[in-house]
């Protein structure tokens, strides 16, 4: 009797999840194609990055609208914030543009309600798309935070924001330090040096990787021994790549994972850009 092959195990990173849930139809199709027939894994850590990157920022935007004289003022101030923090700029730019396309978007009350409902909706969409995360070696506290499923209330947003930032700014009750210790041993055993000048120079054309390498060096040299969410924010890609088990493929839109996959011996499927997908569609 032929042995039944187990399905491929595919880990989606945060960029792949954004493509899957919010991407252009071609990007959504590309994720479907990359994951067809496989077992899709979305770690708790990825949910944390999604909450921190998308949800928390949108709640800040919601608060900014509420505290501004006009919605337009809030959007202008928001765009200035984007210039300062380049991270996540696409998400931060897309949502005001989308809200501004609604009827009567200048009305503060109406726009606040639309944005508030959007925030709650996209958390639900994430959890319905990925209801069962794999075991979490980090026991990430932020990644397990949730918003009660109930009728819309402004306080749902504010309470979530408060709970999230309290954990972020304190010492989380997680296993980051155990994870760090175990991974350092693993890398040492495998003679893998993420921070060596040779690796950094060879991969200098990948700025995302170089940044991860620099952060990893800083983490290796730190004297601090308490876990901090700040390290997870700075070393997110590396932490995701390190928790990929043998035999699991990473599906991502982030080029940083290509060298990380090479170094850690993991297969990486890089999702094409939208421009590339459109080119392919035209050529077909």
């Amino acid at each position: 009797m032929a042995r039944k092959r187990s399905p491929a195990r595919l880990l989606l990173d945060t960029s792949a999840v954004v493509h899957q849930l919010h991407g252009h139809t071609l990007q959504q199709a590309a994720v479907r194609k990359a994951t067809t027939g496989g077992e899709v894994l979305v770690p708790v850590f990825v949910r944390m990055e999604y909450l921190r990157g998308v949800i928390l920022n949108l709640i800040e935007m919601w608060c900014l609208i509420r505290e501004s004289v006009t919605v337009q003022d809030a959007f202008i101030d928001w765009s200035q914030k984007m210039r300062q923090e380049r991270k996540l700029k696409v998400i931060l730019r897309t949502v005001p543009h989308w809200l501004g396309g609604h009827e009567d978007w200048q009305s503060k009350d109406v726009t606040l309600r639309r944005l508030g409902d959007l925030i709650l909706r996209i958390i639900c969409d994430f959890d319905e798309a990925h209801p069962r995360p794999p075991d979490d070696p980090l026991a990430c506290v932020l990644g397990r935070l949730d918003i009660p499923r109930q009728g819309y209330d402004d306080d749902l947003l504010l309470d979530f924001y408060q709970r999230f930032t309290v954990v972020q700014e304190g010492v989380p009750n997680c296993r980051l330090c155990d994870f760090r210790k175990a991974q350092r041993q693993r890398l040492r055993r495998g003679e893998i040096d993420l921070t060596s000048p040779e690796v950094r120079s060879r991969l200098a054309s990948n700025p995302g990787f170089v940044r991860q390498s620099e952060q990893a060096e800083e983490a290796a040299n730190t004297k601090a021994r308490a876990p901090s969410c700040d390290w997870c924010a700075r070393l997110g890609d590396t932490i995701i790549a390190l928790q990929v088990e043998r035999g699991v493929t990473v599906v991502t839109a982030d080029r940083t994972f290509v060298p990380l996959g090479e170094l850690f011996g993991r297969t990486v499927v890089l999702l094409p850009s939208l421009a590339e997908l459109k080119r392919r569609e035209q050529d077909a």
């Binding site: 990173d13 945060t14 960029s15 999840v17 954004v18 493509h19 919010h22 991407g23 252009h24 990007q27 990055e49 999604y50 990157g53 998308v54 380049r86 991270k87 996540l88 700029k89 696409v90 998400i91 730019r93 897309t94 949502v95 543009h97 989308w98 396309g101 609604h102 009827e103 009567d104 009305s107 009350d109 109406v110 309600r113 639309r114 409902d117 959007l118 909706r121 996209i122 639900c124 969409d125 319905e128 499923r149 109930q150 009728g151 819309y152 700025p207 995302g208 940044r211 997110g236 890609d237 839109a253 982030d254 080029r255 940083t256 094409p272 850009s273 939208l274 421009a275 590339e276």
Partner: protein, 145 residues
């Protein structure tokens, strides 16, 4: 001849059921114009009607979840161009607005079922985010969320 829509232009709906009837009448007008350029004008009228629903519903706690249905419908309309309207989209809108016809408090579970239905029907209810946008400067963090 007086219709629900004519009545709306005279005065705001007195109840959620009145509002739901007006919205349903608007959807029926969309159905008659699918794939015609005149559909765009009907879409604008429906959007205007939906905006007007906010102050009507927001003052009544029992209608709070129906206001979320209105926001859901607005999100769908904001995510589609006129060419994106299909019988499936209209059916989802009909189902959403018809839920408002019943008397009494509008339950969260009903809104949540409609949200799932829109999702299952492939109707977008949020912005499209392109992390690979050429405008994204990758010199800091790369396209990670």
């Amino acid at each position: 001849m007086s219709t629900d829509i004519d009545q709306r232009t005279e005065q705001p709906p007195a109840t959620r059921a009145d509002l739901a009837r007006q919205l349903l009448a608007r959807v029926e007008r969309l159905a008659l114009r699918l794939n015609e350029v005149s559909l765009a004008a009907e879409i604008q009228l429906l959007k205007r009607e939906l905006v007007r629903a906010h102050p009507v519903l927001s003052v009544r706690p029992g209608d709070n979840n129906f206001l979320s249905v209105v926001a859901l419908a607005e999100a769908a309309l904001a995510s589609l161009t006129w060419k994106g309207y299909t019988p499936g989209v209209l059916d989802a809108l009909r189902q959403a607005f018809a839920a408002g016809l019943r008397e009494g408090e509008f339950p969260f579970a009903e809104y949540d079922a409609l949200r799932r239905h829109f999702k299952a029907s492939g109707i977008p209810t949020g912005p499209t985010i392109d992390l690979s946008s050429p405008d994204l400067n990758e010199d800091e963090d790369g396209p990670q969320a």
